[in-house]
Amino acid sequence: MKKKINFKISQTTRLEILKYFVSALLVMAIGSVIILSQGNSPLEALKAMIAGSVGSPSAIGTTIRWATPSIITGIAAVVAFKSGIWNCGIEGQMYFGAFAAAIAGSAITLPRFLHIPVCLIIGGLAGMAFAFIPAILKLKLNVNELICTLMLNYAANLFTEYLVFKYMGFDASELADAIATPDMSQTARLSVIIPKTSATTAFFIAIGIAVIIYLLYRYTVKGYELKQVGENLRFSKYGGINYKRTFIMIFLLSGFISGVCGGTEMTGAFGKFRPAFATNLGWDGVMIASIAKNNPLAVILISIIWGMLKAGSFQMERTTSTNRLVVMVLQSVFVLLVAIDYEALFKHFKEKSQIRRLRIQKEEV
């Protein structure tokens, strides 16, 4: 009996892996077509991608640099989605976190071992505070959190830009390039792990967060409760879980992690806050979480692939003049392909063929 169950699990995982493999192949085929249509050779583009992502130490550094925010935003998305909460405001929460962390990094003087954690925590708290708005609106007024967070993303982007103006005392007429908060002090900056790149120890922080969240879900009662709320709302209510408190907690946790991501971006790669610095980093997290099927450890793996794609796409644009948006299109096509529920599709076809067979039998009778 036990053997049978084991066999079944391994077969489904095998099917899963096959599904991802086939999707990846399909995406590569589509990508070749797009690159050809731009008048470039797909082979050259692939070569540039590989050279740009793992070809040299600096390439690996770029890969790590872009994998880092992907992991953290991916985890922020996983925390929310696992409980069935559509927090799509990761990007907005990140902006607030980043702004707060950047200010904390430049305005406060502290020894190094304290300054970095303080910056990250302040960033996290700012993200959390911003996540509180959609959470409380959903709970008290039943406002759809997905649309609410989408709208607040746009607002957050503009509002942090306003805050930068206000903080720096700029005039609105000043050049867009110059708008930034002051440089953060060296005690607030993470150290670089590969020289001459932006790969910093933020990468280890990211992996740490992923592992903590994995352990939380795997081994603690709290994690079990959080998961339950997502899997079956009504059952969790009967099971004696305080739904409202859990809901707020999940939303705030997701916002906190998003804010920390803003913090690591500031203490790591950027060093000062620029308005609209994070183009699509939040959405990367949403995509990664949906590909990883909300598994925190899978998020790490996929984020590294994401980082490779991003690092490679810069090199590709430089050497072959292929627009790097190709990569973004392919990433979202991959999300589409992985989202197909093959099991339901298979069942549907089976049912249809059964109905057809029954009809034939009927006609024969």
């Binding site: 007024l141 589409l336 339901a344």
Partner: protein, 301 residues
Amino acid sequence: MFQLLFSISTLSAMIRLSAPIALAAVGSAYGHKAKIFNIGLESYVLTSAFFATWGSYLFENAMMGLVFGVVSGVVMSAVFGTFVLHFKSDPIVIGIAMNLSAWGFTTLLMYNIFHTRGSVMDSRIKSFSTISIPLLDRIPFIGSILNNQNALVYLAFLVVVIAQIVMYKTPFGLRIRGVGSNEEAMQSAGVSVLKYKWASLIVTGVLAGAAGTCLPLCGISMFTENMSAGKGFLAVSAARIGKGDPLKSFLACLIFAFADALSVGLQGFSIPSQLVLTAPYIITVLVMCLTNLGELRKESV
């Protein structure tokens, strides 16, 4: 400043800006009634904005732009429908992925076709012209607000009225509403649920396509990268606020458009432009809160 709030130019801009959101919102209302949560509307609007520009460029004719826009809207809707209704994927995931790919896809196509980045401007792109309605200009205040608007604006008004009639006075509308409110009952009454879900998706596609056409061909005759800038999301929230009722959704659109028009008008004052630009988004959230507040109160009574 108060004068600015209700000045003719602000109100006229409100009417003009409401057209794309209203068209998309009415489309989304049909989806809402059929219980399809379609966050991918943003991608329909953006894609059809691009194709409308291209169609207008190819034929030097705004009408062909509309045809291109509508067809691309339907195609996007068909992609969404195939994934959600047949491949049983999560509609939210599909919607998000489509939104993200639409941005890259239109920018890539822009580079392939027009060989530019950022924005497309060409004298061959023809917009719809404004229409002057004979008797309307005689009415003092209202005439100057409503008259001399773009042809697509009047089309949007027409669509709202027709959609309202179709939704509540025809068997087609009844079935769409039925599919949304009780799927099993409709199935046992002999109505194909799948067929009507598809029908509602096609309506959404057509109207979102027309909404996309409004963006480039409503006077400015240009396409810019990521032109829709949340218009699709606004439309989805308008449809939710109106609970799928086309007329109510349209009223919500007017509020959003008013905020939008105001943010253009207020830029001359000393209020920071970033704060003014957030107005449409903040107001959307506020309106959602207020409508839900009213409902909760009704429930408690």
